[in-house]
Every structure is written in structure tokens, then in C-alpha cells.
């Protein structure tokens, strides 16, 4: 245990820094693409859930419930192995992007749904009375207003997504955690457990901490603003 903090172990990490950079790049790339997919899915299914049409509502409910109630690891495995055994392998990162995007998309859909539901009904009616079509109404009037409310939970989901990139490990892994693990257990590189884990933990922390800090600060700000308007309304 005591030998794990030796300079030699740290030197090894420095010599193999490319491994960590590659892992970090893969994690960032996977997260970025998956976030885009999640936002698109979130908007689509969020709009479906608030559309008021029974069929669309049911479809988005089923999507959200099925995805939210099963682990990401299972979905990732399912996708990867089903494709691999049927001879359509698409690669680890692509499978990861799809699995993570679909998984986080279900959470994003809930975020968008609650955001849209928080907008006063008058806004919808006003937009309609001004002759806005559905897409215009959502794009110009409703979604810009929801943005402020949904920012904190959406950013929290982004943080979760970044942390969940570690699920790639089970399908062969190219992300930061998997590469760190193969680094610390590798034949030539093995042994520097403590420095290896500290470095990869720090990488995650540096990315995720500012995001979650931003989310919680923004949420506090919104709460304070709400309190102020409530008082103002009461006094008026």
C-alpha cells in the first residue's frame, strides 16, 4: 500500500499520459454526441408528452418508463451484443453514443415535459390567437421560456451522462475509466493504482464539478427569484 505513492508510479503515469488523454478524448467525444442525441430525443418525446394526443402521450410514456426503469449497463450490453451477434457490429463508441443518448433522452424528455407544463396556459393561448403554428409557437414562444427553468435539471442529466460513459467498460471499453483500468492492470504498465485512479478521477471531477455547481447555483437563483415575485404579488 505504501509503495503506491512512489515517484516511480507517478513517472509511469506521465510516460503513458497518452493513454489518459485518449481515454479523456473518447469520453468527451462520446458524451458530446450522446448529449446531442439525448436533447433531440428529449425535445421530441417531451413535446409528445405535452401534445394532449392520447397515442403520442402513450408512446412517450412507454419510452420513458421502459428506459428509466432498466439499467444503462443492460441497455448498452443489449444493443452491443444484439448487433455484434447478428453481424452488424457498429463499434464500441457508436454503440455507447446510442445507448447513452437513448438512456439520457428518457430523462431529458421528463425534464422538457415538466418545463413545458410549468409555462402558464395563457402563453399557449396567446400564441395561438396571434396565428402561430404549432412549431412556431413552440420554437418562438414556449421553448425559450422553458429554457431557464429546465437548465438545472438538464445540466444534472448531462453530468450523469458523463459519469455513465463508464458503462462502455462492459462492452470492451475505450473511455477514460476503462483505459485507466487496463493501464493499472496491464502487464507492462501495471501497479500504479493510486496515481492512475487519482488522475482519471480528477479528469472527471474537473469536467463534472463546474457543471453541477452551475446547476445548483442557477437553481438557487431561480428559487430566490420565485420567492421575491411571490412576496411582490402578495404585497401588490
Amino acid at each position: 500500500m505504501s509503495g503506491l505513492f512512489t515517484t516511480r508510479a507517478w513517472e509511469k503515469v506521465w510516460i503513458y499520459r497518452d493513454t489518459f488523454l485518449l481515454g479523456l478524448w473518447n469520453t468527451v467525444k462520446t458524451s458530446f454526441l450522446a448529449i446531442l442525441l439525448a436533447i433531440v430525443l428529449g425535445i421530441i418525446f417531451g413535446l409528445m408528452a405535452t401534445s394532449g394526443k392520447k397515442v403520442l402521450k402513450a408512446v412517450s410514456r412507454v419510452y420513458i418508463e421502459v428506459i428509466q426503469n432498466t439499467p444503462i449497463l443492460l441497455q448498452c450490453c443489449f444493443l452491443y451484443y444484439a448487433l455484434a451477434f447478428s453481424g452488424h457490429s457498429i463499434g464500441i463508441i457508436a454503440a455507447g453514443v446510442i445507448a447513452l443518448g437513448v438512456y439520457t433522452g428518457a430523462y431529458m424528455a421528463e425534464v422538457f415535459r415538466s418545463g413545458i407544463e410549468a409555462i402558464p396556459k395563457g402563453q399557449f393561448e396567446a400564441a395561438q390567437s396571434q396565428g402561430f403554428k404549432y412549431v412556431e409557437k413552440m420554437y418562438y414562444i414556449i421553448l425559450p421560456q422553458t429554457l431557464k427553468i429546465i437548465l438545472p435539471p438538464a445540466v444534472n442529466q448531462v453530468v450523469n451522462l458523463i459519469k455513465n460513459t463508464s458503462c462502455l467498460y462492459i462492452i470492451g471499453g475505450a473511455d477514460l475509466i476503462s483505459l485507466t483500468y487496463s493501464f493499472v492492470t496491464g502487464e507492462n504498465t501495471g501497479g500504479s493504482y493510486a496515481p492512475g485512479y487519482i488522475v482519471s478521477g480528477l479528469c472527471f471531477f474537473i469536467i463534472c464539478f463546474p457543471l453541477s455547481k452551475f446547476a445548483s447555483t442557477w437553481e438557487e437563483y431561480l428559487k430566490k427569484r420565485d420567492r421575491k415575485t411571490n412576496i411582490a404579488v402578495k404585497e401588490a
Binding site: E65, P71, Y197, F205
Partner: protein, 256 residues
């Protein structure tokens, strides 16, 4: 079509079902234990972070804040790997238990520790939300009635805080059951890992030469159905509780 039939024959194999069933049991038991211990540990963290803000006690505030932020912003898998290497296993867990080998019980202990450490940070934040929702007057009232700090918390503050976060905590059980699938990467006893193990030797059970896509669908489908059944039941309970809370709040507002 025979491939699919062969895959479904997996579900009729008593050994496979028993193996998977015990995996389910392990998943649920690990998750429930992890949540219960995390609630205990998380409560301590939440109190330290929220109320130790003056004088020398500020050290505790800094330590607990650091702990919560570090664990919340790094992946669970990292902590599982770290605990597998660094977490010491007491002699109690270094022997055969629950039909597992001594190596497996040791791994189980280490991975469970990682899960508890990780969930504590999340549950601490949930409980902190509950503590913040308790009106400040409750503290003043308790002190004015002569309650000490410990009694104020255990008799007045914590019961109110817990009551308001029970649905969120139950929701965290769902997350924990899902997170416990990460243990599949090291400890080979819970549901996810067992399904994967069976998939790797599915051809032996089905009597087919190879592992087919239908095996993937049947086995992972089975796991998905099990996870869904457990988690969906829980989330229905959570939703019922939240709806009732909303109704009560509305009624109170209407009365006031």
C-alpha cells in the same frame, strides 16, 4: 425459427432460472442494504454540511462538502475499481458464505462498500434538501423548550426532514438497483453479471453450435423484464406518494 425456440428453452432450464433468480435476490439485497447504510451515513454528512458552519466545527463542514462533491462528480465504476484494490476486507468476509466462494464474498464486500460510499453522497444531498425545508422556527422552538442539540435533531428536525424526502429516497432505491448493475464489472454474483455469464455459454444450454442473436434477446430481455418489474412497482409507489402529498398541500391551501 428453431434458433428462437432453442433460446426460449433457456427459460425452461431450472438451473438457469435458479442461477438468475439468486442473482436477482443478490441485486435487491445489496441495493436495500446499501440504501439503508447510505441513509445513516448520508444523514451524518448532511447535518455536518448544513450546520457545522461556525468556528472550529467548520472543519466538518469542509470535509463533508468535499466528500459529497467528490463522490457526486466521479463515476461509480471508478470507486468500485478503487475499492477492489484498496478496501481492506475483514476476516468475517474472507470465507465461504451464501453459496459463494471466499474470493467472491471478499469482492462482494469491497464492491458493496464502493456502492455505499457512492450512494451516501447522493442521499446526503437529498436529506439536505429535506433539512432545508424544515422551518427555522422549529429549531428555536425546540431550544426554547430546553431540548439539547442531539434531542432537537433526533426528535424534532430529522423526523420532519425525513418525512418530506421519503418519496425521493424511495426513488433513489430505484437508482441504486440500477447502479448495482455496475457491480457486474467485478463481482460476479448479481443479476446483470449472471445473465452475461449465461450468455457466454448459452450454446451449451441450447444445444446449438453457436450463440445466436436470439439468445441475446431472450436473456437480456429476461433481465430487462425483471429490472423493469421491480423498478416500475417502486416508481408507481413513489408517484402515488407524491400525488397524495400534492393533494394534501392543495387541500391545506384551500383551507387557509
Amino acid at each position: 425459427m428453431s434458433e428462437l425456440e432453442a433460446s426460449f428453452s433457456l427459460l425452461k432450464n431450472a438451473n438457469v432460472l435458479l442461477y438468475v433468480g439468486r442473482g436477482v435476490l443478490f441485486s435487491v439485497i445489496i441495493s436495500v442494504i446499501a440504501v439503508l447504510l447510505s441513509i445513516a451515513f448520508g444523514t451524518v454528512l448532511a447535518i455536518l454540511r448544513n450546520y457545522c458552519t461556525k468556528g472550529v466545527l467548520k472543519v466538518f463542514h469542509i470535509i463533508s462538502t468535499f466528500y459529497i462533491e467528490v463522490f457526486r462528480n466521479t463515476p461509480l465504476l471508478l470507486w468500485i475499481f478503487i475499492c477492489v484494490v484498496f478496501c481492506p476486507a475483514p476476516a468475517f468476509f474472507s470465507r465461504k458464505m451464501f453459496g459463494l466462494t471466499s474470493v467472491e464474498t471478499k469482492l462482494l464486500w469491497k464492491a458493496a462498500v464502493a456502492l455505499i460510499l457512492f450512494e451516501s453522497s447522493i442521499i446526503a444531498e437529498i436529506i439536505r434538501g429535506g433539512l432545508n425545508a424544515v422551518a427555522k422556527g422549529q429549531f428555536e422552538a425546540a431550544y426554547s423548550q430546553g431540548f439539547g442539540t442531539v434531542k432537537t435533531f433526533t426528535l424534532i428536525i430529522l423526523p420532519q426532514a425525513f418525512k418530506s424526502v421519503i418519496p425521493t429516497l424511495l426513488g433513489q432505491v430505484i437508482s441504486t438497483i440500477k447502479d448495482s448493475s455496475y457491480l457486474a464489472n467485478v463481482a460476479i454474483i448479481e443479476l446483470m453479471a449472471r445473465v452475461k455469464t449465461i450468455l457466454a455459454m448459452a450454446n451449451r444450454y441450447t444445444g446449438q453450435g453457436n450463440i445466436h442473436t436470439s439468445d441475446v434477446f431472450v436473456l437480456f430481455g429476461l433481465a430487462a423484464v425483471i429490472y423493469f418489474a421491480i423498478n416500475f412497482t417502486l416508481s408507481c409507489i413513489v408517484r402515488g406518494m407524491q400525488d397524495r402529498k400534492k393533494r394534501v398541500a392543495q387541500r391545506n391551501r384551500a383551507l387557509a
